[in-house]
Amino acid sequence: MVVVWKDLLVERRSKETLNALFFFGLLLLFVFQFALGPDRERLAGTLPGLLWLGFILSGLLGLGRTFVAERENDCLEGLLLAPGDKSAIYVGKLAGNLLLMLVIETILLVLFSFFFNLDIAGALPALSIVIALGTVALAAVGTLFAAMTAQVRARELLFPVLLLPVETPVLLATVKATEAVLLGEPLGSVAHWLKLLAAADVVYVAVGVLTFDFVLEA
């Protein structure tokens, strides 16, 4: 809990990540709007992909900054020297990232509906489940890989190169499930995708918890 408290406090004071991600998301939406125009049929086919493209691009930026505060004054070394179970640090970092990503995704979703004139109110409960499941998988791997690349010189390049291949099945499942939900289909029709996402969440979080100690020591 203390790691989440510290991360949220640092973010509240610096506002670096939240501000940057908000403006990045806004710019992304402008680009999409200009590229696609007002053609609603075209939009319907591409919207789920665009929505998750927005989520993953802002996620990449946000997750990549997970250990920025730890690089100042070598606090990562301090974390390593702190006695106790290092997986608690991973869980704290993951929780902080999840909160931040969910805030950004909520803002992006509202902006999406505004920019593309969408009525998503009816699909919101089902959409929330899909987004939550996809975000946990994204944040779980992202937090672990951010720790792995925190001390690497080419971390900005290495981080997405490592993350995106691992997230491919998650992206496929989230885009397919989002497409169905936005078309008004019941959640049951995409149960197989939701099961895949839930399984990915369990596996990715478990791998993060079990390996974080080794990652930090390395």
Binding site: V2, K6, A69, N73, C75, E77, L79, L81, P83, G84
Partner: protein, 239 residues
């Protein structure tokens, strides 16, 4: 009868690639004792501290702290040590009090507000408790770094050039703080480049040269000039 050493280093070798930094280093430090390790740049002073702090694994030989092997029982060693390195390990966007709360909680401590205030008072930062670390000088950050160990009460302090960046008042304060730590039964290993009053806290002076301790002598009545002469004889000759 002399007590068992709190720190025991035996035949320590540490290599980075083909470069042998430490080679056959032996060192014992008992409770209530402070050893100042002197050496030229690149002699391996920081590497020795990193091995003792479990941040680097020995290539050969052993290092133990309070009977725990630094390579095999790193978690137990970490409960016994406090490391003040070149970096202060404090978060710039937290206040001094918040930093203390964070590190203490992470170490499994639950300090009360009074204990936290006491730790800050011990390092003379009570007035800066609510100030963000970003506004601190290097000396204040070093004091805050030490305040973490006022709360955690480790038995061993590992200090990498602890007097660097401190003003005269800060140096005097640190000398008194380290003397009090020794009196409480703690052991100190500190690296330094200084031959002056900073050595006053040390009971022994160990000169690191050629990857090993070339000279380990009680500080006793050695003057700064004596130390400088010995350092030149051993450390600079080896480099």
């Amino acid at each position: 009868m002399a007590s068992e050493p709190l720190i025991r280093v035996t035949g320590l070798r540490k290599t980075f690639g083909n470069h042998r930094v430490l080679d056959g280093l032996d060192l014992d430090v008992r409770a209530g004792e402070a050893v100042a390790v002197l050496g030229a740049n690149g002699a391996g002073k920081t590497t020795l501290l990193k091995v003792l702090a479990t941040l680097a694994r020995p290539t050969r030989g052993t290092a133990t702290v309070a009977g725990h092997d630094c390579a095999k029982d790193a978690e137990l060693v970490r409960r016994e040590i406090g490391l003040v390195a070149h970096s202060s390990h404090v978060y710039e966007d937290l206040t001094a009090a918040e930093n203390l709360t964070f590190w203490a909680t992470l170490a499994g401590l639950r300090p009360s507000a009074a204990e936290r205030a006491g730790a800050l008072a011990a390092v003379e930062l009570e007035r800066a408790a609510a100030a963000r670390v970003r506004t601190f000088s290097a000396g204040m950050k070093r004091r805050l770094s030490l305040a973490r160990f006022v709360l955690a009460r480790p038995r061993v302090l590992l200090l990498d050039e602890p007097f660097t960046g401190l003003d005269q008042g800060g140096k005097k304060w640190l000398e008194e703080h380290l003397a009090s730590f020794k009196t409480g039964g703690g052991a100190i290993v500190m690296t330094t480049h200084s031959f002056g009053r900073e050595l006053a806290v040390a009971d022994r002076i160990a000169i690191l040269a050629g990857g090993a301790i070339a000279l380990d002598t009680p500080r006793g009545a050695l003057s700064a000039d004596d130390v400088h002469r010995l350092y030149t004889l051993h450390a600079e000759d080896a480099s």
